[in-house]
Symmetry: C2
Subunit: 404 residues, 2 copies
């Protein structure tokens, strides 16, 4: 280990050098503080032994100057001093000396101090190395994390771009929704769109699981459930007779998807879906459900009721039949579709939120604007889960027939 000896008195300097070299240290010497500091700035040395009283720059000034430098490693400083006044020692400690050895020095004492300093430096060094390694690992992890997050966020923007930007503007009916993926990417997906001038397509879909695996399938399904009329459209097909297309009945859409997506035994993915078509003239809502949680119907002047259709999720059973159901809606009625991220949100006792509470909240909010009723429900669910971030994707979609 390298030691810098700073001593103006030549005999004492030589003597120090002699012993230190004999004890196996590599030695550099300086005749005063200024010279020492110059040497030190060129190349820091782990241990410094410095005299106190010297010309040009004394020991105290040197210690102070070294402690001001921004050094990568700790420097252990021993001051040689004839001073034994406690006040002096305190001053020395205050500027940053580690140890004092009385002058003229005692060999054993000096050697013991040096050994002690070395041990401390080694300890410091190992901690500092540890620190540096951890920091580097940290930065790598953070970079990897950031990269993955950016990637997922970019994907989330793509996913968001297929959600409806705003509700179709249709006289006599209003739509409102809230959609909260629990990860960057969602396994829930929904849409509201015009199928033609009188018919509105509406669906809420929930792929099992969440995160990227669920999102892959959800995104594919949302592409397939596009209302764009082309030769591959599921919702709307070309027809020879006017109006030149035929809107697929809800159960036909479900049967089609069930034929196409049988559960993959390897990854076990399946999905629930509620698809309906609302006729703005007749106010009839035709729908079919594939294992999806029931809708909540809140009639204008009646209590809420659950419209639950027992059925299997898509992918559970080959050739399963799905049925069409209808609801006659009236002015002032509200109809709520949702995913189980809401009804099955758990509290700390793992109790489910449940539809009873949902109905109660929606009833209480019946005089509030449609949007507010959704917010009230979400607030209550978050209170229940005691968290702003639910454990599953949550979708809530509401239809209101404008009160006459």
């Amino acid at each position: 280990m390298k030691v810098l000896i700073v001593e103006d008195e030549p005999v004492s300097r030589k003597k120090l050098e002699h012993f230190l070299v004999r004890w196996g240290y590599e030695v550099v010497t300086a005749r005063n503080g200024r010279e020492a500091l110059r040497l030190f700035q060129k190349e820091p040395v782990p241990i410094v032994i410095t005299d106190w009283v010297m010309p040009e720059m004394d020991g105290l000034e040197l210690v102070n100057a070294i402690r001001q430098l921004d050094l990568p490693e700790y420097v252990y400083i021993i001051m040689l001093t004839a001073k034994s006044d406690q006040k002096d020692l305190i001053t020395g400690l205050e500027v940053g000396a580690d140890e004092f050895v009385s002058k003229p020095f005692n060999q054993e004492e000096l050697r013991a101090r040096l050994n002690s300093g070395e041990r401390i430096l080694k300890l410091e060094k190992s901690l500092a190395r540890n620190n540096a390694e951890l920091k580097a690992a940290n930065e790598q992890l953070q970079a990897a994390n950031r990269q993955m997050k950016l990637d997922l966020e970019a994907a989330a923007r793509i996913q968001a771009s297929i959600l409806p930007a705003e509700a179709p503007d249709i006289k006599g009916v209003r739509f409102s929704w809230q959609f909260r993926p629990c990860d960057e990417l969602a396994g829930d997906i929904f849409n509201v769109f015009k199928l033609d001038e009188k018919q509105i397509g509406i669906y809420v879909l929930d792929v099992s699981g969440h995160g990227v695996p669920a999102a892959l399938l959800a995104f594919s399904l949302s592409q397939m459930l596009s209302p764009i009329l082309d030769q591959a459209s599921i919702l709307k097909k070309y027809a020879n007779s006017p109006p030149g297309y035929r809107i697929s009945p809800p159960q036909e859409v479900l049967i089609h998807l069930n034929n196409r997506f049988q559960i993959d035994t390897e990854n076990g993915q399946f999905f629930t879906l509620l698809y309906g078509i609302f006729n703005t003239e007749t106010r009839i809502f035709r729908f079919a459900s594939a294992g999806h949680p029931g809708m909540i119907l809140l009639p204008f002047e009646d209590s809420a009721r659950l419209v639950q259709i027992p059925s299997l999720p898509i992918g559970f059973l080959e050739n399963n039949q799905y049925e069409e159901h209808t609801l006659q809606l009236s002015p002032g009625d509200r109809l709520y579709l949702y995913s189980d991220g809401i009804s099955e949100a758990e509290n700390s006792e793992r109790e489910l939120f449940g539809v009873q509470k949902m109905m109660k909240i929606l009833e209480n909010a019946r005089n509030a604007p449609l949007e507010n009723s959704l917010t009230s429900l979400f607030d209550a669910v978050e209170d229940w889960a005691n968290s702003k971030s639910l454990k599953d994707d949550a979708t809530l979609l509401a239809i209101e027939i404008t009160p006459s």
Copy 2:
């Protein structure tokens, strides 16, 4: 700060306690090493001042015992000693004492040593705290990372499940491929499948970008380009006349997709696609390309040539027309489809690998089995990029007409 004083001699012990309390230390005392160790094991103390010669357990044994303990923080140990023999001091240092103060002690000296010890302990402590914080941050990051990675790996398995497990077994023609996503999820995708008893559908598709955003679209497209005959199938459609279906010509598939996927100005996603139909009877390969890199045709006894169709990627231009092209293949011919992850792999000078090199390598491998020619090409590309992990997804798909 707490100091443990270990001294068998009552007067000396009292005196030490007196000064330390006056200097502001909290003091515990013990009469010998054994008592001290018991106290210490109950509650570690940051600084220990111990006499050397004591009954029951002496100072050296105590220091040694403390250093054997697995302590969360460093303990600074000062030995009081009348011994001034260098050998003794060295022994003390060896078992782990930090400092020696001669006995009877000098107030100033002791106080200076204590101050010095305190400073070192503080430094250690701040480094150790830093260390602990970094470690905790590290663990959190690692957990988050692991979670994201697991999620992506699960998604990658879903994506992999839609790739062909094995080539269709058809007399007279062989297929081989290599597929290397650069991230967990790929924006490249390909497939080889029977459209009917005589016709094989083949495509290679490359969504711009890579990672999860590209994978979302690639996965959706692979679902749409499924050879399953249903009412939404793009590749194969129900027909009234026998055989009850009609296989869509390649350009029709591209036009369909181009109508459906116009480039989204927000995320700028588009894709290139080469789709072809190989007739196993006539050995004619009908294909259409949407901005996809050219195929390499390696005739049985002729040099390789590039079959490049200038065309626009899907999504670039609304109502763009795509054309059908044909290649008459003969026994012994090989045809290679690929994505630009191969042809545009860069070396350290950012030069592209290029089709010239590809053709050369495939020519050189013409007598090797089809699989080996793919491996040779991939090896060369990895050498070029000087990396096993390329910067873009890379797909390589080969068809060989069995030599007669």
